[in-house]
Amino acid sequence: MEFYRSQVLVCGGTGCTSSGSNDICAALKSELAAKGLDKEVEVVKTGCFGLCELGPIVIVYPEGAFYSQVKVEDVTELVEEHLLKGRIVKRLVYHDAIEDDKIKSLNKVGFYAKQERIALKNCGVIDPENIDEYLAFDGYKALEKALTQMTPLDVINEMKKSGLRGRGGGGFPTGLKWEFAYKQNNPQKYIICNADEGDPGAFMDRSVLEGDPHSVLEAMAIGGYAIGANMGFIYVRAEYPIAVKRLEVAIDQAREYGLLGKNIFETGFDFDVEIRLGAGAFVCGEETALIHSIEGHRGMPTPKPPFPAVSGLWGKPTVINNVETYANIPQIINKGADWFASIGTEKSKGTKVFALGGKITNTGLVEIPMGTTLREVIYEMGGGIPNNKKFKAVQTGGPSGGCITAESLDTPIEYDTLVALGSMMGSGGMIVMDEDNCMVDVARFFLDFTREESCGKCTPCRVGTKRMLEMLEKITEGKATLEDLDKLEKLALSIKTSALCGLGQTAPNPVLSTLKYFRDEYEAHVVDKKCPSGVCKALLQYTIVDDVCKKCGLCVKACPVGAISGKVKEQFIIDQDKCVKCGACMEKCPFKAIVKK
């Protein structure tokens, strides 16, 4: 086999071939031969890179330089500059390069620069199935400190001073919750970790459990010591098999080292943890429903008060905290409340993990100090919206939250500012939407979810979400009137005030917030019978633009229902009655002559 110092990949897919990649291939070969580089540099024709609109594509390895829209005239420069002199031709690099850099370590990428990792400190660094590695990064030192140097009240005061608030959605101060349970005079108390992460698009808790399970166990033991509980339960979704497995491994290792069990550190404190699997009901993330589920009953909420801190699991005082909340606790004990309180803003301390999803370049997890703006998260860490599309809104708080529009992008992320915008912090899902997302459809999606997940105990939620969904479906089908919009709003407001638990009370939020910020889109569906984003199928029409159409007849073959008629070189027409709006013709048309409106 011959050895080449460099490989030039030229796309030989259909798209790039039709934009001239064969000529580029030939030009490259002859230019390389002319410069005497043909023994050093290999030209390889490859399959489609999937970026046909920017073709022809040329990639030069080992640098991985990605050139787009290369023309035959560029080849001489490419060979001369890049392959002979080793300088990347920035002019041709994909997306107008201004800097060009090889980054060896992930820590140096912009994605990480603004992050502050507390809950995710060990995620992606240690081996989650090896307790020794957790120990090496001061693991279980916080438990040691709490048990040997602090009284339960010291621990609670430290938590209160830190300003840590619940990361599961409610934002209730953790220290206060612990204090309520501490004050209960009862020999049996419980600690629960809520890992029933159910919001669509959210996976913060899963990542913590998979990446750093010991931090949660340690924090639960600290909580147990503070309130006087000797037993903890982790309620985790059965849909997270890896998280469950790593938790099991972690619990076994902690027991083996005596970090769980009887007489921990010979202080006389007993604490053990067991796992309970959830069966995939969203409502079981609500604390009273979760408690009933652990007790073996049907997972249905009960009215509060009594709060779990007074009467929770089996009627005993119980503290329920979220996974991410726990993941912060060992470090608060280790580094002190003042350190934690110095991060974030006045009313929201510390950091928050967000799961970025939807129309965003960097899908993934970020942990940011409170007070970071939405713009920084979406554009600087998230890398902005792909395909040069326009930002429309960001949805936070999952099915309980609302949408935030472009005008509010400079709002610092805090519990209270997000509520003021009609959304909420929630558990940390952040779904970005661009101009192609129909806001009525988004509201319909979330209502469909909450309607399905409603446990059916209270009427406002059971019947109300169903009625709201029906109204939204009417709107997306173009059958609604303006009166329906008012009815929808009225119904949403009454469900908000009358439902039993958090699920029902927050279910109307996606509707209310989209109605508030995107009423024009609702009205377009109702009055003009149009979906401005082109999502709602019933309101769309596919038509052939006669001027652009080259009368090739490909669309006729593509149509699965025979809705397109016409003869080659004559006119083609789509029969709107037959059309099922699948979009196959539009995909197939090489000339973009079919439009949907």
């Binding site: 999937g50 800097e99 370590s105 990480y112 992606g124 081996d127 120990l135 040691e144 040997t148 998979e210």
Partner: protein, 133 residues
């Protein structure tokens, strides 16, 4: 059951294993094995690395799994920290690439530049599927 002194001894013993700085004494290869990593194909990558390390008989190299690093779209991610060197992050790995990394970087000391991130205008360009998917 371990005493406090024993725990402290474990911490001291393990710290070099997890040391992220350049003053470590052994080589550490980390494979992202959270749900995102496994879904992207991290398992064959991990197996290939274990296999290759064994085949080459490399001592003082620990191969471990880890949780989600955060950039799920670049998984499978492999990180190599060698004594005296900055951590190197390899992205979008597969078994073949992983073998090469063990051969050339871990054993040979030469970073496999083609698998690290190439940043142009704030975007990772060897990840061309991302912006247009």
């Amino acid at each position: 059951m371990k005493s406090l002194a024993e725990l402290e001894a474990i911490r001291k013993k393990t710290i070099d294993n997890v040391n992220q700085r350049t003053d470590r004494t052994t080589t550490r290869i980390v494979v992202g094995m959270a749900t995102c990593g496994i879904a992207a194909g991290a398992r064959p990558v991990l197996l290939a690395i274990l296999d290759e390390v064994k085949k080459l008989g490399l001592g003082d190299v620990s191969v471990v799994q880890t949780g989600c690093i955060g950039v799920c779209r670049l998984e499978p991610i492999v990180e190599v920290i060698r004594p005296g060197e900055e951590k190197v992050t390899y992205i979008k790995m597969d078994a073949e690439k992983a073998k090469k990394v063990v051969d050339e970087h871990v054993a040979g000391g030469k970073v496999c530049d083609e698998y690290v991130m190439h940043i142009v205008d704030g975007h990772v360009v060897n990840d061309y599927t991302v912006k247009h998917d």
